[in-house]
Each structure stands twice: as structure tokens, then as C-alpha cells.
Symmetry: D2
Subunit: 92 residues, 4 copies
Amino acid sequence: MSHTIEHKDKLLARARRLRGQVEAIERALASEAGCEKVMHLLASARAAMAGLMAEVVEDHVQTHLVDREKHPDAFNTEAADHLLSVIRTYLK
Amino acid sequence: MSHTIEHKDKLLARARRLRGQVEAIERALASEAGCEKVMHLLASARAAMAGLMAEVVEDHVQTHLVDREKHPDAFNTEAADHLLSVIRTYLK
Amino acid sequence: MSHTIEHKDKLLARARRLRGQVEAIERALASEAGCEKVMHLLASARAAMAGLMAEVVEDHVQTHLVDREKHPDAFNTEAADHLLSVIRTYLK
Amino acid sequence: MSHTIEHKDKLLARARRLRGQVEAIERALASEAGCEKVMHLLASARAAMAGLMAEVVEDHVQTHLVDREKHPDAFNTEAADHLLSVIRTYLK
């Protein structure tokens, strides 16, 4: 992904947060925390992962489906917005 | 969706099958079939619905993100294929 | 499901609403409505189906895992509530 | 989860594998790997997380819904198997 530095940093921060959540799951399992706790940690990590996926898919749609420097008018941004709104609903 | 007649018929056939599955759920509930039966009917209907969604999303991506008559070279079909393969994984 | 009449009626009403939503999808496809419309109808129908599934699973957990007339004290309702809260998160 | 040591080790091994997958996502983002690569790593990590969740939910259902030492005959294992088979379908 050859995107802006700023955006890359945002994605990396999300991935690091997700790693922290997975490490919390490991610690909970190692310390024999209750199933309830582990299930809730897993549900949160899953939501974080879905959020990261939604961002990466959005990136991909916005950046790679059309080379916008070469074809500045070809990309139907309204159709892309509809697609991304549906994808976000399904990733939740 | 102003697509080919053939494709429209395929989508309609899927939607009709899905309606049949939902009617089977209704009948199972009305006749007080076991929870097991109802849960399995629901799981099948959900898979059918996900399959229909995957087809409509594919249609949308292939047909609406770029007007290919006006911009015949703008659409990156390889990037679109990657997107659709990921979407199908998530819709399962 | 040998549950109360009232509850059966509630599930049936949900299933009928879901059928109505699937019929709307069929009509939208038949009348060549836009992909956007069809995708949004599908997303709504999917949420309705997930809601029905959540109710049936809850029923199943509450009614069938333990015969409560025979074993009135055996069922851990708190553990069941944790389970159902996690399942609802995943069915959304 | 006061389960067998063996089972705890199995869950921990799964959690560690999942952490490895999340670390690979971080590295891919840091090294500006393509969106495709990141999306596929995310899809695999999501499947691994769903598998871990399925195991923990199974554990919870088998171990906590009924105290089987106190109530050895109360738990309907067939009904539980139906529930778990449906949950596994949804977690995929």
C-alpha cells in the first residue's frame, strides 16, 4: 500500500492495538480467567479486527480499482461509497 | 441493475429459492417443529442469502464502479478480483 | 418447540416479516432496481434473519439444555446469560 | 476456566498462533506490503480467531451451564451438540 505516511501510521496503530488485545486473550487463558472473560475479550478483538479490515478494504477500493492519475474521471465515487457502506455493515 | 437478461434471471432464481427457504422456516415454526430443525433451516437460509449478496456485490463492483464504455482501460480487474475474493470469504 | 403460544406467535411474526423482506428483494430484482437498493434490502433482511436466529437459539438454550421440571436447580442461568450475550454479538 | 491442563495448553497454543498472525499483519503494514496481502492475512487471522472462539464457547457450554458433578443427569448433551454445531456454522 503506497499510501500517505499518515494513513499508514493510522493502520499500524490499529494493528498494534489489536495485538495488545490478542496478548490480553493469551494472558487470560494462561491465568485461567473465566470463560466469560475470555469470550468478551475475543468479541472485542474480533470487532477491532473487523474495523481494521474495513479500513484496508476501503483503502483498496479507493486506491487500486482505478489509477486515478491516469484516469481522473473514471471512478464512480458514489457507487464506491454504496459498496463501502454495505461492506462495513457486513464486517461489523 | 441494467444487466443482461440472463444474469437478472439467475439472481431472481436465487431470490425465489431464498423465499422458499424462508417459507419453510415459517411452516416449521407454525407446526412447532423442534428448535434443531428451525436452527438448521435458518443456517441454510442465511447461507443462501450470503450467496445472493455476494452475487449482487460482484455485479455492483463489475458494473458500476467504472463506466467501462466511456473508460475501457480504467478498471483494474485484478484488484477487483482480489476485493471480491475477500468479500466472498467474509460473506460465507 | 413446545413453548408458550405467545412466544410461538412472536417468532412467527418475525418469520413473516422476514418473508416480506425477501419478497421485496425479489420485486426489486424483477423491476431492475439499482444494485444499491438491492444491497440495502439484503442487508436489512440479513439483520432480520440474525434477530430471528438469536431468538431461536435463546429458546433452545433456555428450554432444551436442561429439563427444568426434572432438574429445577441444575441450570446455571448466569452462565447461560453470558453465552447468549456473546452469541447475540456474533449474530449481529 | 478450571479445565484440564491439556485443554488449556491447546487453547494457549491457538492464541499464540493467532498472535503470530496479528504480528504478521503489523509487519506487512509496516513494510508497505500490498493491500491484497494485508487483506488475505486479515482473513486468515479472522478464521483463526473464530476457531478459538468456537473452542471457548464449546468449553463454556460443556463445563458451566450445568455443574455435572452435582447434577450428573441434568445436561442434555444432544441438545448441546445441536447448539454447538449451529454456533460453529455462524462463527466460520
